[in-house]
Symmetry: C2
Subunit: 441 residues, 2 copies
């Protein structure tokens, strides 16, 4: 017993790895960059390739408290050597985690369900919403992405209206994206938020027209795949009111933006002065270890008691909970929410200054360390500068800064680094971005 010697894992060249991916892996999986990078190590805000080159990581909103944070790693290492089993036995870690997580929410949101991913969390939220409301139809925001499961693809316009998509299912209604840069109601229009929210009336009417009622309104607290869109102030309050009046519950998807990323608040929905009925969590929750969560009100959780258990084999195991607790410890003790607020504010202001000098920058928006820089070919027509966006990303990569793009036209630079991203990191990025813009013009 215990006499296994782990076989060494062969170190392969990038070409060999790409070849093996072609032969044995999911062929739909894309790779970052024209020439993909083989990463072998991560520390703080940096990823390192085989040659030891350090890349400043502005893409990873998963390794939230920094790559391989020693406190999180140590918590996982210790617990995995001690016990990893399911939630049908009693364990200290799961209740401590549920309690500590609940404390970060408004007191109305006090019941936690654990899953293995943000997709599983959004899937579970749907079941809970349908059971609680006894309704079936769903309202989502245009261009939203809520997960990779069959059900989440059916309710994600980013997927069902995207390449290979099968279009909008009858039970899903798509509300206009409240994009006050590109949409029909623009920033500066004091009624933009309410006018966007009014589009929920159309969705609700369409649901009523088919003899149904809405079970839920899903909305990310800052829109991710929609293009890093900050919701106009007042949007969620009005949209929630419309949705609730029609019998729906309101689900805040914080998979990308939660855990202090937005700076001023621990949860991004708080910036909209609302309390959702259900909140879904994922990506940063365990700094890369697979976990997700649903947080809801006790009365909604109680209504989910129908005789059908929600049991999830891996979810809530002692290792995941230990790592989740460590992530909460690090955010708190290293004041990462404050760092997100400060570095984010600095970045936002500097990017807005950069915008005044570079007509390629159409818009700068964001909150904390979740920022979008929308590139356009023409400031008035707002023609998406998709190709230029790609060039900026490749330029930054050549200078060892990792950045991705998003948005319906894939022309929005998507800034979402680990929260340990420093002022010095921000300055390095700004300098490099400025060079890239100069090179392009």
């Amino acid at each position: 017993m215990y006499n296994t010697i782990a076989k060494p894992i062969p170190q392969r060249s990038a070409e060999e790895i790409i070849q093996l991916r072609r032969q044995h892996l999911n062929p739909t999986l894309s790779m970052s960059y024209q020439e993909p990078i083989k990463m072998v190590r991560g520390r703080g805000a940096y990823l390192y390739d085989e040659q030891g080159n350090a890349y400043l990581d502005m893409v990873n909103n998963v390794c939230h408290v920094g790559h391989c944070h020693p406190t999180v790693v140590a918590a996982g290492q210790a617990q995995m050597a001690e016990l990893n089993t399911n939630t049908r036995y009693l364990h200290d870690n799961i209740v401590e985690y549920a309690q500590r997580l609940a404390v970060t929410f408004p007191k109305e949101l006090s019941v936690v369900f654990l899953t293995n991913s943000g997709t599983e969390a959004n899937d579970l939220a749907l079941r809970i919403a349908k059971t609680y409301t006894q309704n079936n139809d769903i309202i989502v925001v245009d261009h939203a992405y809520h997960g990779n499961s069959p059900t989440m693809i059916e309710l994600s316009p980013y997927k069902f209206d995207g390449k290979g998509g099968r279009g909008r299912p009858a039970q899903i209604q798509v509300a206009e994206i409240p994009d006050d840069y590109r949409g029909q109601f623009r920033r500066g229009d004091s009624k933009a938020a309410l006018q966007y929210a009014n589009d929920l009336h159309r969705c609700i009417q369409a649901i009523h027209d088919r003899g149904a009622k809405p079970a839920a309104f899903y909305c990310e607290s800052i829109l991710g795949c929609g293009g890093q869109v900050v919701l106009p102030q007042g949007y969620l309050a009005a949209a929630y009111a419309h949705a609730r009046a029609a019998g729906a519950v309101c689900i805040a998807d914080e998979v990308q933006v939660g855990f202090g990323r937005s700076g001023q608040h621990f949860w991004a929905f708080e910036s909209q002065n609302v309390i959702p009925d259900i909140v879904t969590l994922g990506k940063p929750i365990c700094n890369g270890h697979p976990m997700g969560a649903v947080v809801t009100r006790p009365e909604i959780a109680q209504a989910f008691i129908t005789g059908m258990e929600y049991f999830n084999t891996f979810a809530g195991n002692p290792v995941s909970c230990a790592m989740g607790l460590a992530v909460l410890d690090v955010i708190e003790q290293e004041q990462l929410q404050k760092n997100a607020a400060e570095v984010g504010a600095f970045l936002l202001e500097a990017l807005m200054n950069l915008k005044t000098q570079h007509p390629l920058i159409g818009d700068v928006r964001g909150m904390g360390l979740f920022i979008g820089v929308e590139l356009v070919k023409d400031q008035t027509l707002r023609t998406p500068a998709t190709q230029e966006c790609k060039c900026v990303i490749e330029y930054l990569k050549a200078h060892r800064i990792l950045l991705s793009s998003d948005g319906p036209y894939d022309n929005v630079l998507k800034i979402k680094p680990p929260l340990v991203f420093s002022l010095a990191n921000a300055k390095e990025f700004l300098n490099c971005l400025e060079e890239a813009l100069k090179t392009l013009s």
Copy 2:
């Protein structure tokens, strides 16, 4: 930076933990036993409670190579300190894992998709099957459970026909369970397998009657929630032929029974002399760390290239793959499949002997270390002895052996220990089970 001291996790009494679960956790989550146990440590085939009492674990088919196996733990510990990032960068672990996993399958099954759970694997298999066949309807086996997502609940009779279930959706057809102990065709009937398989004709007809075609036939290679039912020899070959003739692909769910558990073969479907089109994996794949996988034929994987990417944030990360590789190493080097075959054969024979002396045992069946002992009140009527089954489990618990039950009447003792379960463990269990049966009679 890096100055976080993890807060100690309070050690709470069982009562306090139960109280906090009530306050902050998923209220549908059941606990094992009338008086739940607080487990704090796991080693090999044993779990340990707070007082240091060792419980022989015959429930955990997740901690497959033994609780906290040092080789698997070391692999996870080392990799999590080095790098944990997504699959859009190149990494050695993922291609090594995909290649090593593919080697364990018939050569036709060579493409691997990684997920975070068995549920996510079955969900993805459904998307692949629908895309490949361009059909929509699904055939499943009665009492089957394939996962906890909205889609998997819709296709799991165990859920949709169980408490809180909403019944069978129109696009799902349920084939009769090929249970040759309790069903209409019994063991000894040489045509039982073919006759059960013929029920797929009825399912296919029902699909045609609604103007549709089948996309997939899902079947566990040994039925789990159905009551540890070994498929009659020839069942899958005939059922696959019927399903394929109607245009469906055949999905083998190996989430519970794969990775050598069935003893004679690494994959339980091999005992039926078939090659599925898609195989789904979960539970034991990383010994408790959250991972799942879909393995399929290249032509099916290619057909999934529609422009829509399957990207899964956590899945396939270097830590999960390192742990998956270590699990494969341990199974191979510690010859755990052979152990499953030998200890399983011994157990099966001993249980059959026990059956001759104890009329409460109606049936003994299984393969390797996946065995069911069905308890009945009457050998002829086969009346389920559900309450007695519960008593046996509580009796074993009092003697520090962990066992669970399953099956449509919850009267089947479900034997599925970690594969390090030894002959001595088997003897200890048999002695204790015999005492339990004597006490009951």
